[in-house]
């Protein structure tokens, strides 16, 4: 490794250790921008909830607590399988990694199905983003989150195929780890969305 890492002029190959840590650092930086993207909506939520507490309380009753809770459990479980998948590939277990990523994907799809039924029920009751400020925020926040679930699913699908092809192993697991970080962020955002939207006391 010593020789290869000294000769930087031979192309874009970096020291694997440096490449590994900078990839992860880059992902953390990106996650920071994601938090601030949602942050704008959280700021709007804070203002309008403080201004119209009664309206938020009355309107949130329309949301289905049970479906929200089920989706919370699904996402937390998917974070568990993703984390276990990362550990599995770090131990070189490709098959276990592929299975764990697949379970994570299925959980993400399950989340989408539940959300589809929720949105359908809202539309059925003629509740749309222009119904109120609460529902405007509800559809925007959960919609932006749903978009992240879709992006996460795309990333996980690529990781799944590449794992099956044997591209990752105990020595090289960076994409699985970095993709995993992104998926955990999706869970992390939902951890706040669930109580803020569904569980207004």
């Amino acid at each position: 490794m010593g020789d290869a890492s000294v000769e930087h002029s031979h192309g874009h190959h970096m020291d694997p250790a440096v490449e590994y840590s900078s990839s992860k650092l880059g992902m953390w930086l990106f996650l920071g921008t994601e938090i601030l993207l949602f942050g704008g909506l959280f700021a709007a939520y804070a203002i309008f909830r403080a201004k119209y507490p009664e309206m938020f309380f009355e309107q949130h009753v329309e949301l289905n607590k049970k479906m929200g809770a089920v989706n919370t459990c699904i996402l937390i479980f998917s974070s568990l399988t993703m984390a276990m998948g990362v550990s599995a590939i770090q131990r070189g277990k490709q098959k276990a990694t592929a299975i764990l990523i697949l379970i994570t994907i299925l959980c993400g799809l399950g989340f989408g199905v539940v959300k589809y039924f929720e949105y359908s029920a809202k539309f059925h009751h003629h509740i749309y983003p222009d119904t109120s400020i609460f529902f405007s925020l509800y559809f925007l926040m959960t919609g932006l989150h749903m978009l992240h679930v879709f992006v996460g699913l795309a990333i996980l699908s690529v990781l799944f195929v590449l794992t099956l092809k044997g591209k990752f192993n105990a020595k090289y697991s960076t994409p699985v780890e970095v993709g995993g970080l992104y998926w955990h962020l999706v869970d992390l955002i939902w951890i706040y969305l669930f109580p803020l939207l569904y569980l207004i006391g």
Binding site: Y20, S21, A46, I76, S87, L196
Partner: protein, 102 residues
């Protein structure tokens, strides 16, 4: 390793730890849902946010491996939170200290 880094590359979290973390997250989710049915007034939102923040912290520390990362990763992870606090704090302050409407 040619580059010395504080990142513990070799640390692999065991599945047992992950399952414990998952169980803790599930218990806290149950607590938040349960508490939402009881009227504590202003405390409801406080409890909800505190529990959510504990959950988010353990997701970051264990699932996202932050506990085993070097200090620069911690800076990258925490600095956006201070910006977020600034964003929400200043917007709230502005909104509620205006004498002229809007």
């Amino acid at each position: 390793m040619s580059t010395h880094s504080h990142t513990d590359r070799n640390h692999i979290t065991g599945n047992k730890t992950y399952v414990i973390v998952w169980a803790a997250l599930m218990v806290m989710t149950a607590v938040t849902v349960y508490v939402s049915y009881i009227n504590f007034g202003i405390l409801n939102i406080v409890i909800a946010l505190v529990v959510a923040s504990i959950k988010a912290s353990i997701v970051a520390l264990y699932f996202m491996h932050l506990k085993f990362e070097d200090s620069i990763t911690w800076v990258f992870a925490l600095f956006p939170l201070s910006l977020l606090a600034l964003l929400i704090g200043m917007t709230i302050t502005d909104t509620f200290t205006r004498t002229i409407v809007p």
